[in-house]
Each structure stands twice: as structure tokens, then as C-alpha cells.
Amino acid sequence: MSLTESKPDLAVGEGSDLFQAVITALRSADSSGRLAIELLARVDPTECRRILLTTSAALDGLPLAARRAVLDLVVGAVGTDATPADLLELDRLVRRYGIDLSAEAVAGLVQRLRAAERPQSVNEAAKALLDRRHQEPALIRAAIELARERGHTTDAHRWLTKLGEVDPALSTVTWIQRIRRELGGQGLPAVRVALLSSFTIDQVVPYLDLECRRLGLEPEIYLAPFDTWAREVLDPAAKLRGFEPDVAFLSVSIDDLIPELAGSPSGADLEAAAAEAIGRVTEAATQFSGWSGKPLVVHALHSAIAGPRGILEGREGISRSSWIAALNERLAVALRALPRCYLLDLPELLLRSGVPADVPKLRHLAAMRIPPAAMPALARAYVRYVAPEKGLTRKCVVLDLDNTLWGGVVGEDGPTGIRLGHTSPGAEYVEFQRFLATLPERGFLLAIASKNNPDDALEVIRGHEAMILREEAFSAIRINWRPKPENLTSIAEELNIGVDSLIFVDDNPDERELMRQLVPQVLTVEMPRDPALYRETLEALPQLQALAVTAEDRQRIGQYRANRQREQRRVSTASLDEYLLSLEVTVEIGPVTEPLFARVAQLFQRTNQFNVTTRRYDVAQLQKLAGDPAWRGFTLKAGDRFGDHGLVAVALARVGQDTWTVDSFLMSCRVIGYGIETALLATISAEAAKLGASALEGEFIVSKKNVPARDIYERHGFIRHDLVDGVERWRRDLADGGIAFPPWIGTPHDTA
């Protein structure tokens, strides 16, 4: 660090020894180049930058890792003092090597360079990186900066929310709240929340702001001055009344009400103090109810201080924690007598959020009673009251089946092969079902939307011994192969509720994305990968909370069950095509050749549903067919913008002079619904036509499980002309140009 002060008199400049040394160091694969540059940057930053920008011409010769390292250094050297020439050089570099730049480097440029001088290529590089790494805080900060520069307020707010989700540090959420104030309104429905406390609870405010916005609400939060809770509620002239809160939270610590708890007070003293404490809180709640009529949420009492008797707690009389629990029960009874007062179980929340029970320093220094690490959980607990008060409670949870209500795919694994039972894997799903079974008691409906053969799925629902949710638990059932947005729309119609009353729960990210794109009014829950976390994911949902459950709510559920009916309605084809296009599905179709035999044979063994003849070819047979000119094999690898699906479809055709015959055609059911089968059939049809065939035939053997493939030939213009020994023969003339390749599917050829 002291190098800057004692700057040695070094000759730099092109052609100098130092310049050559830097080039040599850069070209070496080890870290010496980096070290040399860092040293030079300290000696003479301006000269260093000049050398780096000049040297970058030699970048092409470097190995990728070295090139990336150098690029980061070069870009990192460009600051606010960059000259126009530097910026031109930077622009050239980013245009050429943008893809090799690190997220930090690009984000740093956006932060450091003023909008006017920042090359457009830098902004574009930031956006491109963000598309691929949308969880990267540095890039999200850059996106916020760019949105603010352009005056795109809504985008800026959206990115601020995203930043709070990926980086929930107190400093970050505080910064987010500050930026939002500068940005101004987002135009969302407003909510007014008041916080009253006997201690410092300021740190929950930015988290509460964030959680409200995640719900689509624009909060105004009133934090009453420190320890004025009693006066604020009682005094008609206090700010609280003028604020007119939609929801208020009252947090009073028992350590503030009864300071003697830190010692070992006598039983009689404790009882007197407790009665007074409960009396004060109840009085405040009563007053609030009297003039407000809005919900008041009261923290259950908790103490940061452990009981005084060590291991004899609970042995010599009642333990401190049991005593506090009893106190809270008395408080609950008192609050129940008031129309809209709720008790927030704070001891339970602190226990579950896994934070230290007490942060003594902040308790003394800043009068905090709740550890800062618990603030995000506290804010999430708060919005579970805010959401129902603002009418955000949904009515119906629509559930997928495979890998959501049980582990595995019933169509593949069979009713006895799925994971559902007492042991793990399987026990997670039973627990999740037990939780779901409680929802009707809170006034929520359950429904099913599953891609399955109805017979397979219903066999499990009706007959599996570990199944908790039987058919009668569901108010609507859609088990078919139609797109799920269509099924949810029809469920909403059947139940006579809006699609904006639905919650969609599905383990498959593609299905979730489809739903978000086509029916954004449906609340699509981002489910965790691990089924053990399903239960708590839904438990935490503010939209699954009700401030009251009426007898009508429970009755309605019975009515729905009684007149369950099946109705179907198509989502407009135009929007489905648009969705498919946005998925950026790509396929790579090739022959069945050597390294693929094992995977292809595995598909033949495992695929039951989308399989036209269910003929099982093994590796040895495939090897033989591959060398036989009378056969042609096709493999298909697929991917979309969410990732790579791998080799997911196979077809075998028998080659005739005039007619090719599809002997086998199978596809993993993971990729049903993207038109991938059309891409493969189109390719076979084009190959056949190229080699002089005038017709394509397809064989189909009905099995118990291959309903999903049932209409494949019909959909592609084949006509059934024969049925011999259970083998259907379908035929399609190729004179019309054959089967068209789906326009929304790309091939590697397109991108090259």
C-alpha cells in the first residue's frame, strides 16, 4: 500500500523493457502476469491502463483462463478518469470479448462510468450476462443503475425486489428502500402498516417494505417513536390515529415490562408483575380495537434472558419458559375476546428461524430485543397478516401429481413403484399431503392438474395405502395430456372462481414457466427441488392465510365436491405458440451410432408412455440395425433456455424403395408438449422424400400405457389403413412436401 507514496522512477511506454515484460508475463499461463500488472497499477495507474489497453491486442493468443484474467484487469483499470481514447478501446474490447468478461467486471463498469461516457456495448454486455446469471447481485445492481438512467421506474423497482431476494443483508435492503424513495411510486395498491414497540425494531422496516412489494403492494410504514406504544394507542392526538393503518403490529418485550426477570424474583412478585404486564398489553389492544377496527397483531411475550435456576429450572417450581408460555396463553384468551386481534407466536418464530436467541450487545447498546438475523423471518411473518387484509388470499390450490404428491412418475414406475409411504424417500410426500389435508379446514379448495393417464393416477389416489388425499378431497380433477394453463382455466370455470384465485403447485420448472407466461394471474409457487421442503414452502405463503374462516367457507367446499364436473377449454393457440417460441427449444437430430447405443437402449427399456409400438431393442440389436442399409435410426437431443434435456427421443424406420415405415418412435415424457415429436417426424419425412420415397408409414401397437402417443400419426396427417395382429398401420403421402418442421424449434444449423 505504501508503493504509491514512493513512486520509483521507472521507464514505461511502448518498446520499453517494462512493456515487453508485461507482454511476456501476460502470455505465461501462471499468475505472474497478474502480479506484474497489479504492481504496475500501483506504481503508475495511468500508464498501466495505457499499456493494458494496448496489450489487449495480443489477447487472442492467450489461453481462455488467462484471457479472462487479463480482460478483468483491463476493464478494472478503466475508471472515471478514462480518456475518450480509452473508452473507444474499451468499447472495441467489450464488443469483441464481451462474452469472456466476468459479471463483476461488467457490473463495475456500469457503476463507475457515467451514463454519457459509458459505451453502449457495456450496457448490452451487462444485460446479456444478466440473462444468463440473473441471481448475481453485482449484475442486478447494474441493471438497477441502467433502469434508473433510462427512467424505467417499474423495471428499477422489479430489480430492487430481485436484489433483496438474492442478497438479503441489512445494508442491502436498507439501500433498496432508500433508492425506492428516490424513484417514487410504483403504482401498486397501497398498504399502510404501523409498528409499535417497546424496543428498537427499526431493522424490520426495510425487510417489511421488501416483503410487501413481493406481494405486489406498495407499503407506507409508520414506526412509532421508541417505546411510545402505550401513548400512541391511547392518545387521540398521536400520529398513529392520523396515519390510519390497515394493519398494526405491537411488539412488547417482557424484559421491558418486568425488568426484575433478569434476577430471581419471588413467586408473588412475579405474579403481580405478570398480571400488570398482561393488563397493559390487553388495555392497549382494547383501545386500538375500539377506534381502528383494523387487525392488530400482538407479539407473544418472550424473554432474551434464561431462567435463574440453571439445571433446576422446572424442578423447583415452574420453569421460566413454561411460565412465559402460560402468560402467553392468558394473553391469547384476553385477545380472543377482541374482534380482530391476533397473537404472533414470537418464541416459536425465533426458534424456527435458527438465529441466536439473544444478542446481548445490541440489547444493551441499541435496546434491541429481537436479533437482527431474525428480521427477515419477522417481516415474512408480518406479511402473512397483511396479505389477507388486502384481499390477496387465494381460494384453491391446484396440485400436480408425479413428484409433487408422490415421488416418481406413476406412468413409468407403476402404482407400486412410486415413492409414498413411511420411509424416505416417500415420507416427505405423506407429510406434505397431511399438511394439504388441513387446508380445507381453513377454507381452501384442493384440485389436481396432472399429465397422466387417468387410470394410472386414479389407481394411486383410490388405492394406494399411504395416500392421504383421496378423490373426495379434491373439488376439481384434471388428469389428461392437455396443456396445464388450459386445465387451470377450466378448473376456475368449474369452481366458478377467477383464475386469480388459484395457486399452482408443480415440481416441474417448465410447467411453472408455461403457467407464468400464459396465465400470469395464477400464483405459481416456486417449489424447491427437495420434497422435504414442500410443506414449509406452502406454509410460508401469505396468500394461503385467512384472517377468519366462516362456516360458509367450509360449506362451500362440500358443495364443490358434490357437483364436480369435467369441463375443458382451450387456451388460445396463438399464445401457446408464443410461449413455445419463448422457450427457445432446440433439437439436434442425428443417426443411432456407436457412443449412443447404451442411452438409446435405455430409452427403449424405460419408455412406456410416449412409445408407438413399445418394441424393446437392446444394444446388440441396435448395433446390428445400425449397419443394415434396410434400417435408418434417428436420435434427438433437446434443450431449451432453461437447460439441456439430453437425448430424449429415438425413432427407427424400415427403408423401402417407395415407402419408409416407422417401426419405433419413442420420447421421454419429460418433453411432451413442445412439439419435439413433430420435429423428429418431419426430419424422417424429409429424409425419406430425399431418398425417393413417396409415402411414410407408421406402426402403432396399443398398450396399457401409451395413451400419450395415441394421436401422433393422426395429428401429422396419417390415415389408418390396416390392422394386422394388433399392429395398426398408418400412412401418409409425401407429395404435399411432407411434414412441416415446427417453426418454434431451432437446430444447431440455425445458430451456426
Binding site: 472515471t80 457503476q111 443483508a169 441489512l170 445494508s171 442491502t172 436498507t174 439501500w175 432508500r178 433508492i179 428498537t200 427499526d202 431493522q203 450487545k361 445490541l362 444493551h364 447498546l365 441499541a366 434491541m368 437482527p372
Partner: protein
């Protein structure tokens, strides 16, 4: 590791070039008492240190924060 200047800039929501060795609660208007508590929470989280109340009251400048971290053997 994140340098203390960056933590401070983030806590008070100011650009990094406004935080130098000379910065203190007297030169930076955003450095108020509530912000100071946030700073203490973030310093403890970032550098995995525990600061006593007395220490936190002396950490009112960049120089003091760096000095204390260096005493604890923390580098960045």
C-alpha cells in the same frame, strides 16, 4: 474479502469513492446512529468478529475500523 470501505459505502448507501481513510461520522451525513448499528451488524457479519459495545462506540471513522480489524489480524 470485501474491504471495509466497501462495507461502509454499502451500509450508508453512498458511492465507494466518497469513502476514504479520512471518512468519519462527522464527514458523512448518512452516518447516523441507526446507520451506525447497521454498520456494526454488517462488520460483525462480514469479518466474523465480535465487537464489544465500547469498541463499537469508538468505530466512528474508517481509520478506526481498519485499525481495529488489523489488530484482530483480519486482512482484506
Amino acid at each position: 474479502m470485501t474491504p471495509p470501505e466497501a462495507v461502509i459505502a454499502r451500509v450508508f448507501g453512498v458511492s465507494a469513492d466518497r469513502v476514504t481513510d479520512q471518512t468519519s461520522n462527522e464527514t458523512l451525513p448518512e452516518w447516523d446512529s441507526l446507520g451506525h448499528i447497521t454498520l456494526v451488524i454488517e462488520l460483525e457479519a462480514t469479518y466474523a468478529v465480535s465487537l464489544s459495545a465500547e469498541e463499537t462506540l469508538t468505530l466512528t471513522s474508517v481509520a478506526a475500523i481498519k485499525r481495529l480489524l488489523e489488530e484482530r489480524g483480519i486482512t482484506w
